[in-house]
């Protein structure tokens, strides 16, 4: 056993190299973030402007909240493609509830409920129906968008209650409220994943489902919980999205959010097949995406080319991450 101790603690020369490679494999996303951050500040001095920085945070907060949920889903070994559509559906229904009741609280609550319920259905399909998550949520993606379009008759719905817009447009100190909601959610999800049994079970399930089940874990319930959780977070995101412009479009709101969320999770180093990954990685993943978008805007890159750069970064990120 002495051998193992020396391996852990000896300051010998070969361990320097192995320590660097450990640092890289564990925190490559943070290193990448720092490099991109520095590059951005060198390339454009306006980047470092505090208002620009806060603007980036504001822009990533909605996708960020969804990406937190996506991390949990992907850690469990699944994927959720329905987030964008469910966001639109939750937004549309919550605006209707808001206008009908005149209560902001009811509006917010409705959005959370619709999101959670859609997530719950996804969870039922995956856990009890044994449908692959890709397929189940693909179905939900089409269905939720369709219902949103039907309810809003293909257009947008707008809030008629004053004060609702305050949610996304107010500041606390220098921070926009959505940014603080994003941070609060990040802390919450971090605690759930690392300090509660639910989080532990999600990792176990994503790593080895059979062993998790044979360890007397109710795998089905955890799966349903995972999808309900992301659904609820999508509900939160829907509230912010709706509140920002006091309206939501049944056709375009939330479009392709699933791709950005998945991209953030992947850049953040979470393994596609589940079991390994970190919430903190996803946060840096989403920040990298935000900085890239911001830089391209500052440098007047054609918006048509921005998707290309984003795609390139995702692929580079995955290539550089240590693969097993």
């Amino acid at each position: 056993m002495d051998n193992i101790n020396t391996k852990e603690y000896s300051p010998e020369s070969p361990s320097m190299k192995s320590r660097l490679s450990w640092l890289w494999s564990e925190y490559s996303v943070i290193i990448a973030f720092i490099i991109i951050f520095i590059a951005a500040s060198v390339m454009n001095p306006r980047f470092l402007d505090i208002n620009n920085q806060l603007n980036i945070l504001m822009q990533v907060s909605i996708i960020g909240i969804i990406a937190l949920g996506m991390t949990v889903v992907m850690l469990s070994g699944g994927i959720d493609l329905s987030v964008g559509s469910v966001l639109a559906l939750a937004g549309v229904i919550s605006v209707l509830a808001l206008n009908a009741s005149g209560s902001i609280l009811i509006g917010v609550f409705t959005a959370l409920l619709v999101g959670a319920f859609a997530g719950f259905l996804n969870g039922l399909m995956v856990a009890k129906g044994r449908i692959a998550s890709f397929i189940a949520t693909l179905g939900m993606m089409a269905a939720a968008r369709s219902i949103a379009l039907y309810i809003a008759e293909g257009g947008s719905v707008s809030g008629e209650v004053s004060g609702f817009t305050a949610i996304a447009n107010n500041n606390v100190w220098i921070f926009d409220l959505p940014v603080l909601i994003f941070f609060a959610m990040a802390v919450l999800i971090y605690i759930v994943m690392h300090k509660t049994r639910f989080g532990r079970y999600v990792y176990a399930l994503g790593s080895n489902e059979k062993a998790a089940m044979l360890s007397a874990i109710r795998v089905d319930r955890i799966k349903i919980g995972v999808y309900t959780l992301i659904g609820t977070l999508v509900g939160v995101a829907a509230v912010i999205e709706t509140s920002r412009l006091n309206s939501i479009s049944s056709s375009s709101s939330g479009a392709q959010y699933e791709l950005d969320a998945i991209a953030a999770v992947i850049i953040g180093g979470t393994r596609m097949t589940g079991g390994r990954g970190k919430i903190i990685g996803t946060i840096f993943g989403i920040l990298i995406l935000g900085i890239l978008n911001n830089m391209m805007n500052l440098m007047n890159v054609s918006p048509h080319l921005q998707g290309f750069v984003k795609g390139l970064i995702i692929i580079i990120a995955v290539v550089f991450q240590k693969r097993e």
Binding site: E8, S10, A204, S215, R218
Partner: protein, 504 residues
């Protein structure tokens, strides 16, 4: 013997992260020799073989093949030198057919460049027949039992006309008669000049089939000698550095109340009319050949499989067990076989694997208390003698024996009255094996009801009070542990004999 060994590995040294794993090890294998490579887990056997197989590069030392020095830069080069490595973990593609797996990477094509399926099937059938296995070459590998997969892996080495086959614990998942067949095959190979390096923990097997042996301990060569000149006890002593008895382990003590009663448990196609009882403090064994249904039986009992009929009474109360969770609540714990697939969560740390089935013990206000987990683990680390420098590393970094001890700790922490062990010493070295037996006996003494499933008759003979023998999903015989022997068990396990109404 020829004057020149087929393979000579000379003064091989290798270290990982500054930790020496092999210290000037020399190994020579003659042409047409079966050479046993022995040592506990972590002794450096796998590293040595991985160097020969081109997976790792030695820090110093040379490898000679038929006298010519070679550099095994990668596994492909090793293969072209006629070396085949049959790993303990099987490299089979479940979604391909038998013949497709056999010819993976070296498919036979006809002149037009299309696959010549018929020829590949013919050759597959031929080689399998040599092994005494009759399989449809077009069967999907995922539908086969592990033992068949192993045989296919061996056939693959034969197909490539290897000069040296390295077998890493090939018999772990084989039933007794399949082992016999494998040995016969090995002897035939030997006659045709093929050399074999045979890694195993089962000393009896080694004595039966090997010509010479090499013992490694802590990365050093301890001894190389002819098989005839050493006896098993002496070799064991060389491996672990101390003597280990092969005697019957179990102590008689008073049994407590009835813990588990099973009546007429049946599941179509898997097992039928299973009756047995276990008392507190009793160790009940189940053994049989591959396909006897014992694993399926206890997976059902533990709620992993749901399609069964019959009654299960735990402490006198009839229970409907529909999920491992309800089994745990009823007071059952299950240490499954095939640790890697069924027991360990490789991405979780050692501590987290330990606490997984009893999270409630570590929570306060719904939050996990890391400190409490670590404290609990350090208790088990001592009582079970788990060797781990840092319990926060992921469990897959531990040796098999230590992994198994962590899994046992997991179920001890869940504190169930009934503990089911399926092949508890699978792929575990001699020393750790002994410790696990000892622990099981301690648990029985504490009044736990213990069930042991094992494919090795000697294992149940050593530690069980009662032995059930299964054949094709039925219990064909039941013995008191001290009133039977391996031969008798084999009679019932092969279905050659069955006790009529008898049992009970």
């Amino acid at each position: 013997m020829t004057s020149q060994p087929f393979v000579a590995m000379n003064q091989i040294e290798k270290s990982f992260n500054g930790v020496p794993v092999l210290k000037k090890v020399t190994l020579e294998v003659e042409k047409g020799e079966i050479h046993a490579l022995l040592g506990e887990n972590g002794a450096g056997k796998s590293t040595l073989m991985n160097i020969l197989g081109g997976v790792h590069q030695p820090d110093s030392g040379q490898i000679f093949i038929e006298g010519k020095q070679v550099t095994m830069a990668n596994p492909h080069i090793s293969q072209t030198h006629g070396i085949s490595f049959i790993h303990q973990e099987l490299n089979m593609v479940g979604d391909l057919k038998v013949y497709e797996n056999m010819f993976l990477g070296s498919e036979i094509r006809n002149k037009a460049g299309f696959l010549n399926v018929e020829e590949m099937c013919r050759q597959t059938r031929e080689i399998l027949a040599e092994l005494g296995v009759f399989l449809n070459p077009k069967e999907y590998v995922r539908n086969l039992a592990t033992s068949y997969k192993q045989l296919i892996e061996i056939s693959k080495a034969l197909l490539h006309k290897s000069q040296l086959i390295i077998m890493d614990e090939p018999t772990t998942s084989l039933a007794e008669h399949e082992v016999g067949r494998l040995f016969e095959l090995m002897r035939n190979l030997k006659k045709s000049g093929v050399s074999i390096i045979y890694i195993s923990h089962k000393l009896k097997e080694i004595q039966a089939v090997c010509d010479r042996y090499t013992v490694l301990r802590d990365g050093q060569l301890v001894k190389t000698d002819d098989m005839q000149s050493g006896n098993l006890e002496e070799i064991t002593k060389l491996m672990v550095g101390k003597a280990i008895s092969q005697e019957r382990f179990v102590h008689e003590h008073e049994f407590g109340e009835m813990a588990l009663e099973v009546e007429r448990l049946s599941s179509p196609g898997l097992f039928k009319d299973i009756d047995f009882t276990v008392r507190k403090g009793q160790i009940v064994g189940f053994t049989g050949l591959a396909g006897d249904g014992r694993t399926e039986l206890f997976e059902s009992l533990f709620g992993y499989r749901k399609k069964y009929t019959g009654t299960i009474k735990v402490k006198g109360k009839a229970m409907k067990i529909t999920h491992p969770r309800t089994a745990l609540q009823a007071g059952m714990g299950y240490v499954p076989k095939d640790r890697k697939e069924n027991a360990i969560i490789k991405d979780l740390s050692v501590v987290h694997n330990m606490s997984l089935s009893s999270m409630g013990n570590f929570e306060r206000w719904g939050f996990i208390q890391d400190k409490r987990e670590l404290e609990k683990f350090s208790n088990y680390e001592k009582t079970l003698n788990i060797k781990v420098a840092n319990p926060r590393i992921t469990i897959d970094k531990l040796s098999g024996g230590n992994q198994q001890k962590v899994i046992i700790a997991k179920w001890l922490e869940a504190d169930t009255d009934i503990l089911i062990f399926d092949n508890p010493t699978q792929g575990i070295d001699v020393g750790a094996k002994q410790e696990i037996y000892q622990e099981i006996l301690e648990l029985a003494k504490l009044g736990k009801a213990i069930i042991i499933l094992s494919s090795e008759a000697p294992e149940v003979l050593r530690i069980c009070h009662v032995i059930n023998v299964m054949y094709h999903g039925e219990i064909t015989a039941r013995f008191m542990g001290d009133e039977t022997n391996e031969e008798e068990i084999m009679h019932y396990a092969t279905g050659a004999k069955r006790e009529g109404e008898h049992i009970g």
